[in-house]
Symmetry: D2
Subunit: 396 residues, 4 copies
């Protein structure tokens, strides 16, 4: 087992006034690199005292011009065009992998072998096999590991989780989730990495579907079987250099899922839902209550709890999840002052930094590599069910 | 006091299988004539046994062709172009006045003197003085009287009333109501009777404002003072014969109101609110709860009752007011099968027929001529406050 | 071919002032009997001149007390406890079957053989085989036939249909529909006819699913394959006489469907969705537009049409479908005065009476027995797919 | 005129790679201190290249323990318990006043005299007289000045502004705005500075009302008259040291306003609206369009533009204001990834820093001290109208 880096604990920090620092190495400067870097800098502004102050040690990415700019912009001490430099840098205690899907496995495995704690963007691997090798590596190394299913850190979703855990919905009957976007509907939209099977693994399934598969596991439990359909509406796209390329990934998928606890559900993701910008919605129906959520109104949770109240005024409650007593959100602003999408990363990275510094569990509040691996197994099963037209059982 | 017509009582009807009939005389065949006639025919379909089966005896209106058609359409036994025939017809027990505003006072007073029970559309009179004469007439005659503020019979509004009566909102702090339409915004829209001061009395104030003034009195209590502004955005219109006429009625008004119980509120009505088709919305904030309502979603009531439930899931509840246990609506369809605007007339006329047949009180569930008169006093006070720029006290 | 009953045509009626009558025989006095009877009486109140004035000739049902009361309540000239009397009554021109599912086939076939025009509640048959025999009978008799998928007559749904027909959504990619209720969630809810496989055929599938299957065919087109899951959450119920009975019908089903035009969709129905009273919602995503609908707000249609308008203000439009120019609704009230669920029956029966009187087509505006039969084929395929775990192709 | 501090311009920065720094001195470490400090640090994360990188030079506040912690938390180079130190520090180029209302005038005037550019929280002064002195000071000094009406920087509100400026709503008829909170409804809530007339000046009026008064001026134009009512529901509160204090500020106010362009409106603010956490809503109705907004859903704008589109699909559009082309929001995340309340400060401070560095105008995009002063005049007029019961004309 690789040696873990030692920390002054949070308790000491409070006692002495010394708050420790934790060194971050970031892979990727684009969408996820920006979101993670900004979140890491935000932690001490919002949590005080923080478990540790993130020290942005080094950022890596392929374009020197862009990675240099990113380093200056977010305040990294150094940058590199070679991710190995992150692994080799002894100041890096947490390796944060925000690179494209084909840059997940090798760097994470190397980081684990070097004893770094790891948080990796989803989907963890492009296949269950790849994800399994990553899981094996972190378990062997004994490091903390997280798969960045950031939507677990939406206050309203955590509130939903808490309500279910407290039994306030009773036995769960239904889960229906769909994650809809529209950004590749134009037939002239080019062949980008997210549409390339070799780089991305899958299309809407791994990108959007993995989020709702995770929410199903987080909120409802383990699935036991899936039936599915996958669809590529526009099977050919132009590459940036003008060639016609075949699109081998799914533009959309639809699945029926049965859970071990008897609940049944539908899962759907699409990049062809005009007008739906980032519409991750789900509904849960239980014996004693129901819940509905929409990511485009992420500060709200719709809750139906007829036994908690009088019958004449039973109705879905539009809970504005911004009270000090609600999950995560009390550190921000007074009630009614809503937060945005990026804040989930602040919650997630604060949680992971805290788990690293204080040696506390990463899951189930945060997804781990176990969750990343199981997610990949389900994605593979959905792809198989779609291909064969047969219901497929889930086995990890 | 005029002699009232006798009825076989509802109790006897149940015992013997004989359900009485009650004779209706209707003034007006247009918008309100259609709504009232259809509602009267609907009563036995929905309420069984009904307090009485409405017998459509006679309908009166100015155009012989139209009134003849209306008679055939709704099943009236006879028709007339002279409203006096309704008064003179001994079969008419209930006089239902759905004519234009300048046809309210004289026919209602005559009907009262003839001992007819009377339900009259709102606004009762064009001025408080006119309404007072009508009130005096029915009180002198000892007949049942109703002013058809039909929105009291929206199930969601009656539910709001019940919640307030039960004290579940506690002390009331705020009432804000606005009734918005858009149908005269086109400058080429002609001068119609609703824009003519002599016929209509006022514009948005009497037509729309009278509804929300009534809801304020029904739900909150008596007002003690008003400040106001009235506005005519398009001061000249073409008449149907091509003349240019001055518009002396208000296109919109806005008022601040203070209630005797200390609550404060705003009242607003406009026919210049583009996109708002029939948007009668109000919100009430009390010490222990809040309520919001929108007529365009009249089957729903938004209710906030934080003490009835747990703090973590407090939120405005979207109560679908279609349960069998909700006011009025249980006679219709199974839960979730919504009703429409016209159903308020079925509830209202059933209530009035029942009050007549069983000699039970018309108010406070239904507005009476007292409510019609007080409404007119408030309308007059708003007009005065707008004219003078001064806060005006309300005195009946 | 049986001889059809002759009518004075609508044209003549207008010319002469004579509006024909059409004789109705109704089977069933409960939920559907009430809705249909009230709708038939309403036709002349709302449409003038109507194609014919429905004459309520006879109503049949099993309980003499109840059928006698229904006859008086709705104004039927006579009643019977034997449905054969409806067939034998020469005054009956339209046979309206609102009885339970196991009373659909035999009476409808007999009515067809007697030359009656027929409108039958959905699901047409309990199986595709039963529905096929019914279809064969009406086609052989040459009578007009309708399956009462009344939701085709929701103004907002007809508007959606029109938008799609006009090509304003372009190529359709997605259809997702779910119809949710909650009325049998209590384990003590008894074994009623809708839970009995022999009487009802299926559970949520035939009752609720048939509606959304029909909407999919109406709006999107013919399906080519289905995958499915069916679930009975509470497999044993008490009968009214105290026995424990096995529930052989589904409490919920979920299906994935692919359409001939390449669109993919999910279909779901459940009677175990707490808080969802009558929640029939669907969403359609096309190349140029998207649509969303909820039956609990049936006067509204959500429409996204980014090319019709400017990019900066693209958004789902909440269209209040109450304008005079909108389908069906112009005969009712001024804009913004919403209608209810029952009005769909007025539109549907008006359409069918008109088709009968004027010898115009019943479909596609109204479902026919062809639609009822194809619906049953799809229901059977969903049941087979659920049982076998295999994708099943649809073949009529 | 005081000498202004020189800057390397943004153009040079791009050319040379050198981005200038701008020194910030902050008064206040509480709610506004946190929001402003976090926003200043966020600027370079989100805007690149920024007009200047804010350098947090010094923060001042009354409690040494708290101000020292704040300095460490947000990265200020130094701190002080005396605001004069901010004025005396030559590194401070921008003075950011986030202190309580009675700490606005004197420090701002001193800062102006020292040639600092100034952004001050709203309300600018407790009275029009106080605000006028502040305005005179900055005008005399020739420094840039902003009153931090941050809601002008909500993307949806700026979109509304743009639509109105482009004439897409036509002539404006109506503005109705209400800002509702609930945080002092508990009678045991103590006497805090916001309830103390000497410190706060007014209650809901200055705190919440000033925001909607500003939005009215920003969106509609200058008001010409007001009628009003003010109310204190709980006139006595306990101080923290146990005394009973009289509450001289308003718990709620309601006003009618007429604008110079003929539009009429209502303004209301309350801290007694149970269930409304931070509910700043307004609606605008114009000749060609209408707009509605709710701060609790600040990423959305409801827009009705019937001429931009076809009549059959006219409806309020729910515009998700998260597109790259929408105001302010393109620098953040991909479409559909919503932002929160705090982001308005990032936009506002970026704008002010840019105005300072590039010597560009602060208004009308951002409120200036002129806007702060006029706002105070209107607040005073509302108070006078409430006291006298008379309509009061506005004169600056």
């Amino acid at each position: 087992m690789a040696e873990k880096v030692g920390f002054v604990t949070q308790g000491d920090a409070k006692a002495t006034g010394d708050i420790p620092e934790v060194g971050i190495g970031m892979l990727g400067y684009a969408f996820m690199g920006k979101a993670h870097s900004h979140a890491l800098k935000t932690i001490p502004h919002i949590y005080w005292p923080p478990p540790a102050i993130p020290k942005l040690v080094r950022i890596a990415g392929r374009s020197e011009e862009k990675v240099a700019q990113a380093a200056r912009r977010y305040g990294y001490e150094s940058y590199s065009t070679d991710w190995h430099d992150l692994i080799d840098d002894p100041r890096v205690q947490i390796f944060d992998n925000g690179g494209p899907n084909d840059q997940h496995a090798e760097p994470c495995i190397a980081a684990a072998q070097a004893g770094k704690h790891i948080i990796c963007e989803k989907p963890l691997g492009r296949t269950a096999e790849e994800a399994k090798r990553m899981l094996d590596a972190v378990e062997k190394a004994g490091v903390k590991h997280a798969t960045a299913f950031n939507y677990r850190f939406v206050p309203a979703i955590k509130l939903a989780y808490d309500l279910i855990q407290e039994g306030r919905l009773g036995r769960i009957y239904h889960f229906r989730a769909r994650y809809l976007q529209e950004w590749i509907m134009d037939p002239n939209f080019p062949m980008v990495w997210r549409l390339d099977a070799a780089t991305a693994g899958s299309g809407a399934l791994g990108d959007l579907g993995s989020h709702i598969i995770d929410l199903g596991r987080f909120l409802i439990g383990e699935p036991v079987s899936v039936s599915a359909l996958m669809k590529t509406f526009i099977p050919e796209r132009k590459t940036e250099d003008g060639r016609i390329a075949h699109v081998a990934v799914d533009d959309a998928f639809e699945a029926i899922v049965e859970y071990a606890n008897g609940a049944v559900g539908t899962l759907e993701a699409s990049r062809f839902a005009l007008g739906r910008k980032n519409s991750n919605r789900f509904e849960i129906n239980g014996e004693k209550g129901s819940i509905a959520f929409d990511m485009e109104r992420l500060n709200e949770l719709q809750v139906y709890l007829p036994e908690e109240g009088k019958p004449d005024t039973a109705g879905f409650r539009d809970v504005l999840v911004t009270e000090a007593s609600h999950p995560y959100v009390g550190v921000w602003w007074p009630q009614g002052h809503i937060i945005g999408w990026e804040h989930t990363f602040v919650h997630e990275l604060h949680h992971f930094v805290s788990a690293v510094v204080n040696d506390t569990p990463v899951g189930p509040e945060c997804g781990t590599f176990v969750d990343g691996y199981r997610n990949a197994v389900i994605c593979d099963a959905i792809a198989e069910a779609a291909r064969t037209g047969q219901r497929v059982n889930i086995a990890y």
